[in-house]
Amino acid sequence: MVPIHAYLMLAMILFGIGAFGVLVSRNVIVMFMSVELMLNAANLVLIAFSRALGVVDGHVFVFLVLAVAAAEAAVGLAMIITIYRNRETINIDRYNLLKW
Protein backbone atom coordinates (compact mmCIF):
# COMPACT_ATOMS: atom_id res chain seq x y z
CA MET A 1 0.00 0.00 0.00
CA VAL A 2 1.59 3.18 -1.18
CA PRO A 3 -0.11 6.14 0.50
CA ILE A 4 -1.60 8.67 -1.88
CA HIS A 5 0.66 11.19 -0.26
CA ALA A 6 3.62 9.70 -1.98
CA TYR A 7 2.13 10.09 -5.45
CA LEU A 8 1.21 13.61 -4.73
CA MET A 9 4.71 14.34 -3.51
CA LEU A 10 6.16 12.88 -6.69
CA ALA A 11 3.81 14.92 -8.84
CA MET A 12 4.69 17.98 -6.84
CA ILE A 13 8.41 17.51 -7.29
CA LEU A 14 8.06 16.86 -11.01
CA PHE A 15 5.89 19.93 -11.35
CA GLY A 16 8.43 22.00 -9.47
CA ILE A 17 11.25 20.77 -11.67
CA GLY A 18 9.17 21.58 -14.73
CA ALA A 19 8.46 25.07 -13.46
CA PHE A 20 12.12 25.58 -12.68
CA GLY A 21 12.98 24.47 -16.16
CA VAL A 22 10.55 26.91 -17.71
CA LEU A 23 11.88 29.76 -15.67
CA VAL A 24 15.58 29.07 -15.95
CA SER A 25 16.10 27.69 -19.39
CA ARG A 26 16.97 29.99 -22.24
CA ASN A 27 16.44 27.27 -24.75
CA VAL A 28 12.93 27.40 -26.10
CA ILE A 29 12.83 23.69 -26.77
CA VAL A 30 13.87 22.83 -23.26
CA MET A 31 11.27 25.25 -21.97
CA PHE A 32 8.75 23.46 -24.05
CA MET A 33 9.74 20.12 -22.72
CA SER A 34 9.54 21.47 -19.19
CA VAL A 35 5.98 22.44 -19.90
CA GLU A 36 5.27 18.92 -21.05
CA LEU A 37 6.76 17.66 -17.83
CA MET A 38 4.47 19.90 -15.83
CA LEU A 39 1.50 18.58 -17.75
CA ASN A 40 2.52 15.06 -16.94
CA ALA A 41 2.89 15.90 -13.29
CA ALA A 42 -0.71 17.02 -13.37
CA ASN A 43 -1.67 13.82 -15.13
CA LEU A 44 -0.07 11.84 -12.37
CA VAL A 45 -2.23 13.56 -9.79
CA LEU A 46 -5.33 12.83 -11.84
CA ILE A 47 -4.54 9.16 -12.11
CA ALA A 48 -3.65 8.90 -8.43
CA PHE A 49 -6.95 10.36 -7.38
CA SER A 50 -8.79 8.32 -9.91
CA ARG A 51 -7.37 5.27 -8.30
CA ALA A 52 -8.02 6.51 -4.82
CA LEU A 53 -11.64 7.30 -5.53
CA GLY A 54 -12.17 4.25 -7.70
CA VAL A 55 -13.56 6.07 -10.70
CA VAL A 56 -12.20 6.08 -14.21
CA ASP A 57 -13.16 9.66 -15.11
CA GLY A 58 -9.68 10.84 -14.28
CA HIS A 59 -8.28 8.58 -16.94
CA VAL A 60 -10.43 10.23 -19.57
CA PHE A 61 -9.12 13.59 -18.52
CA VAL A 62 -5.57 12.41 -18.72
CA PHE A 63 -6.30 11.17 -22.19
CA LEU A 64 -7.66 14.55 -23.15
CA VAL A 65 -4.68 16.31 -21.63
CA LEU A 66 -2.41 14.14 -23.71
CA ALA A 67 -4.32 15.16 -26.82
CA VAL A 68 -4.01 18.81 -25.90
CA ALA A 69 -0.31 18.36 -25.21
CA ALA A 70 0.10 16.84 -28.64
CA ALA A 71 -1.71 19.73 -30.26
CA GLU A 72 0.33 22.20 -28.28
CA ALA A 73 3.54 20.51 -29.26
CA ALA A 74 2.57 20.61 -32.91
CA VAL A 75 1.65 24.28 -32.96
CA GLY A 76 4.42 25.31 -30.61
CA LEU A 77 7.10 23.58 -32.60
CA ALA A 78 5.76 25.12 -35.77
CA MET A 79 6.06 28.52 -34.16
CA ILE A 80 9.57 27.81 -33.01
CA ILE A 81 10.54 26.89 -36.54
CA THR A 82 9.05 30.07 -37.92
CA ILE A 83 10.63 32.28 -35.34
CA TYR A 84 13.93 30.54 -35.73
CA ARG A 85 13.80 31.30 -39.39
CA ASN A 86 13.50 35.00 -38.71
CA ARG A 87 15.66 35.39 -35.66
CA GLU A 88 18.08 32.54 -36.20
CA THR A 89 18.20 31.69 -32.54
CA ILE A 90 16.24 29.69 -30.07
CA ASN A 91 17.26 31.90 -27.19
CA ILE A 92 14.02 32.98 -25.64
CA ASP A 93 15.55 36.27 -24.48
CA ARG A 94 16.07 37.31 -28.05
CA TYR A 95 12.40 36.95 -28.76
CA ASN A 96 11.71 40.44 -27.55
CA LEU A 97 10.06 42.23 -30.43
CA LEU A 98 7.11 43.08 -28.25
CA LYS A 99 9.36 44.87 -25.82
CA TRP A 100 8.45 48.54 -25.32
Binding site: M1, V2, P3, I4, A6, Y7, M9, M12, I13, L14, F15, G16, I17, G18, A19, F20, G21, L23, V24, R26, N27, I29, V30, F32, M33, S34, E36, L37, N40, N43, L44, S50, R51, A52, L53, G54, V56, D57, H59, V60, V62, F63, L64, A67, V68, A69, A70, A71, A73, A74, V75, L77, A78, M79, I80, I81, T82, T89, I90, N91
Partner: protein, 194 residues
Amino acid sequence: MTLDYAIFLISAAVAVFGATMMIMQRNPVASVLYLILSLVAQAVVYVQLGALFLGAILIVVYAGAILVLFLFVIMLLNLRSNPELSASLPPLGWFTKVAVPVLMVVELYFVVDRVIWPPVPTGIVGKNPDFGSVETVATMMFTDYMYPLQLTGVLLLVAVVGAVVIARRESAEPRKTTASPDNRNEQPIDTVAG
Protein backbone atom coordinates in the same frame (compact mmCIF):
# COMPACT_ATOMS: atom_id res chain seq x y z
CA MET B 1 8.22 -1.75 2.78
CA THR B 2 6.16 -3.66 0.38
CA LEU B 3 7.08 -4.50 -3.15
CA ASP B 4 4.64 -1.91 -4.29
CA TYR B 5 6.42 0.71 -2.33
CA ALA B 6 9.77 -0.33 -3.60
CA ILE B 7 8.66 -0.19 -7.22
CA PHE B 8 7.17 3.19 -6.62
CA LEU B 9 10.28 4.59 -4.99
CA ILE B 10 12.54 3.33 -7.73
CA SER B 11 10.41 4.62 -10.57
CA ALA B 12 9.88 7.91 -8.76
CA ALA B 13 13.59 8.32 -8.32
CA VAL B 14 14.18 7.61 -12.00
CA ALA B 15 11.44 10.09 -13.03
CA VAL B 16 12.88 12.83 -10.89
CA PHE B 17 16.38 12.08 -12.06
CA GLY B 18 15.33 12.15 -15.69
CA ALA B 19 13.47 15.43 -15.24
CA THR B 20 16.40 17.01 -13.47
CA MET B 21 18.85 15.90 -16.06
CA MET B 22 16.55 17.13 -18.78
CA ILE B 23 16.76 20.71 -17.68
CA MET B 24 20.45 20.48 -16.93
CA GLN B 25 21.53 19.39 -20.40
CA ARG B 26 23.14 21.78 -22.80
CA ASN B 27 22.48 19.58 -25.74
CA PRO B 28 18.79 19.55 -26.59
CA VAL B 29 18.96 16.00 -27.95
CA ALA B 30 20.16 14.79 -24.58
CA SER B 31 17.35 16.72 -22.95
CA VAL B 32 14.82 14.90 -25.05
CA LEU B 33 16.31 11.56 -24.18
CA TYR B 34 16.25 12.30 -20.46
CA LEU B 35 12.65 13.39 -20.75
CA ILE B 36 11.83 10.08 -22.39
CA LEU B 37 13.53 8.35 -19.51
CA SER B 38 11.45 10.35 -17.05
CA LEU B 39 8.28 9.54 -18.97
CA VAL B 40 8.98 5.83 -19.03
CA ALA B 41 9.46 5.92 -15.28
CA GLN B 42 6.18 7.77 -14.93
CA ALA B 43 4.49 5.17 -17.10
CA VAL B 44 5.55 2.58 -14.58
CA VAL B 45 3.85 4.58 -11.87
CA TYR B 46 0.73 4.79 -14.05
CA VAL B 47 0.64 1.07 -14.41
CA GLN B 48 1.16 0.70 -10.71
CA LEU B 49 -1.90 2.88 -10.20
CA GLY B 50 -3.97 0.65 -12.43
CA ALA B 51 -3.89 2.88 -15.45
CA LEU B 52 -2.67 0.26 -17.84
CA PHE B 53 -4.07 1.86 -20.93
CA LEU B 54 -2.73 5.30 -20.13
CA GLY B 55 0.65 3.90 -19.25
CA ALA B 56 0.81 2.37 -22.68
CA ILE B 57 -0.42 5.54 -24.31
CA LEU B 58 2.14 7.60 -22.45
CA ILE B 59 4.95 5.57 -23.86
CA VAL B 60 3.55 5.12 -27.32
CA VAL B 61 2.17 8.58 -27.95
CA TYR B 62 4.25 10.77 -25.74
CA ALA B 63 7.60 9.19 -25.83
CA GLY B 64 7.09 7.69 -29.21
CA ALA B 65 5.42 10.47 -31.15
CA ILE B 66 5.61 13.84 -29.44
CA LEU B 67 9.16 13.65 -28.27
CA VAL B 68 10.23 12.27 -31.60
CA LEU B 69 8.65 15.36 -33.09
CA PHE B 70 10.85 17.39 -30.78
CA LEU B 71 13.84 15.44 -31.98
CA PHE B 72 12.84 16.10 -35.56
CA VAL B 73 12.66 19.79 -34.95
CA ILE B 74 15.97 19.86 -33.16
CA MET B 75 17.59 18.08 -35.99
CA LEU B 76 15.78 20.11 -38.60
CA LEU B 77 17.10 23.28 -37.06
CA ASN B 78 20.44 21.62 -36.56
CA LEU B 79 20.68 22.81 -32.98
CA ARG B 80 23.82 22.24 -31.00
CA SER B 81 24.71 23.14 -27.52
CA ASN B 82 25.12 26.86 -27.62
CA PRO B 83 27.18 28.76 -25.03
CA GLU B 84 24.78 31.65 -25.29
CA LEU B 85 22.01 29.42 -24.01
CA SER B 86 23.94 28.24 -21.01
CA ALA B 87 25.34 31.56 -19.87
CA SER B 88 24.74 32.02 -16.19
CA LEU B 89 22.01 34.27 -15.00
CA PRO B 90 22.66 37.44 -13.04
CA PRO B 91 22.57 36.71 -9.30
CA LEU B 92 19.24 38.38 -8.65
CA GLY B 93 17.59 36.67 -11.59
CA TRP B 94 19.05 33.36 -10.52
CA PHE B 95 17.81 33.81 -7.02
CA THR B 96 14.25 34.64 -8.01
CA LYS B 97 14.14 31.91 -10.59
CA VAL B 98 15.19 29.36 -8.01
CA ALA B 99 13.15 30.82 -5.22
CA VAL B 100 9.89 30.91 -7.10
CA PRO B 101 9.66 27.17 -7.95
CA VAL B 102 10.98 26.22 -4.52
CA LEU B 103 8.38 28.38 -2.89
CA MET B 104 5.79 26.80 -5.09
CA VAL B 105 6.86 23.30 -4.12
CA VAL B 106 6.85 24.25 -0.46
CA GLU B 107 3.43 25.68 -0.87
CA LEU B 108 2.16 22.60 -2.63
CA TYR B 109 3.65 20.54 0.14
CA PHE B 110 1.55 22.48 2.59
CA VAL B 111 -1.52 21.75 0.49
CA VAL B 112 -0.78 18.07 0.33
CA ASP B 113 0.25 17.88 3.92
CA ARG B 114 -2.70 19.66 5.40
CA VAL B 115 -5.31 17.42 3.96
CA ILE B 116 -5.86 14.07 5.61
CA TRP B 117 -6.38 11.88 2.61
CA PRO B 118 -8.68 8.90 2.83
CA PRO B 119 -6.77 5.68 3.33
CA VAL B 120 -7.74 4.12 0.05
CA PRO B 121 -6.09 1.36 -1.84
CA THR B 122 -3.45 2.31 -4.30
CA GLY B 123 -0.85 0.30 -6.06
CA ILE B 124 -1.45 -2.74 -8.15
CA VAL B 125 -4.52 -4.33 -6.78
CA GLY B 126 -5.99 -7.43 -8.12
CA LYS B 127 -9.43 -6.77 -6.74
CA ASN B 128 -10.76 -5.10 -9.83
CA PRO B 129 -8.74 -6.08 -12.83
CA ASP B 130 -11.03 -4.10 -15.13
CA PHE B 131 -10.08 -0.79 -13.53
CA GLY B 132 -8.19 1.27 -15.95
CA SER B 133 -8.52 -1.25 -18.74
CA VAL B 134 -8.97 -0.12 -22.31
CA GLU B 135 -12.57 -1.17 -22.17
CA THR B 136 -13.62 0.79 -19.14
CA VAL B 137 -11.79 3.89 -20.24
CA ALA B 138 -13.16 3.64 -23.77
CA THR B 139 -16.69 3.09 -22.56
CA MET B 140 -16.46 6.15 -20.39
CA MET B 141 -14.88 8.17 -23.14
CA PHE B 142 -17.42 7.40 -25.81
CA THR B 143 -20.46 7.74 -23.59
CA ASP B 144 -20.17 10.30 -20.82
CA TYR B 145 -17.29 12.25 -22.36
CA MET B 146 -18.48 12.20 -25.94
CA TYR B 147 -18.51 15.92 -26.51
CA PRO B 148 -15.20 16.72 -24.89
CA LEU B 149 -13.67 13.96 -26.95
CA GLN B 150 -15.10 15.36 -30.16
CA LEU B 151 -13.96 18.82 -29.23
CA THR B 152 -10.50 17.53 -28.58
CA GLY B 153 -10.58 16.05 -32.02
CA VAL B 154 -11.45 19.42 -33.46
CA LEU B 155 -8.69 20.95 -31.43
CA LEU B 156 -6.22 18.53 -32.86
CA LEU B 157 -7.44 19.27 -36.34
CA VAL B 158 -7.06 22.98 -35.78
CA ALA B 159 -3.63 22.42 -34.35
CA VAL B 160 -2.62 20.47 -37.42
CA VAL B 161 -3.88 23.14 -39.78
CA GLY B 162 -2.37 25.84 -37.64
CA ALA B 163 0.97 24.15 -37.49
CA VAL B 164 0.98 23.81 -41.26
CA VAL B 165 0.05 27.45 -41.79
CA ILE B 166 2.53 28.79 -39.29
CA ALA B 167 5.44 26.70 -40.36
CA ARG B 168 4.94 27.27 -44.03
CA ARG B 169 7.44 29.55 -45.71
CA GLU B 170 6.06 33.02 -46.26
CA SER B 171 6.44 32.86 -49.96
CA ALA B 172 7.99 30.76 -52.60
CA GLU B 173 9.40 33.87 -54.18
CA PRO B 174 12.92 35.02 -53.44
CA ARG B 175 13.65 36.69 -50.11
CA LYS B 176 14.07 40.12 -51.62
CA THR B 177 10.38 40.75 -51.96
CA THR B 178 9.52 39.39 -48.56
CA ALA B 179 12.05 41.72 -47.05
CA SER B 180 10.37 44.81 -48.51
CA PRO B 181 8.18 46.36 -45.82
CA ASP B 182 5.04 46.64 -47.91
CA ASN B 183 4.82 42.99 -48.75
CA ARG B 184 5.65 41.84 -45.31
CA ASN B 185 2.44 43.28 -44.01
CA GLU B 186 0.27 41.95 -46.75
CA GLN B 187 1.73 38.52 -47.13
CA PRO B 188 0.18 36.74 -44.15
CA ILE B 189 -3.25 37.94 -45.19
CA ASP B 190 -2.78 36.34 -48.55
CA THR B 191 -1.62 33.09 -47.09
CA VAL B 192 -4.58 32.87 -44.80
CA ALA B 193 -6.93 33.67 -47.60
CA GLY B 194 -5.20 31.15 -49.79
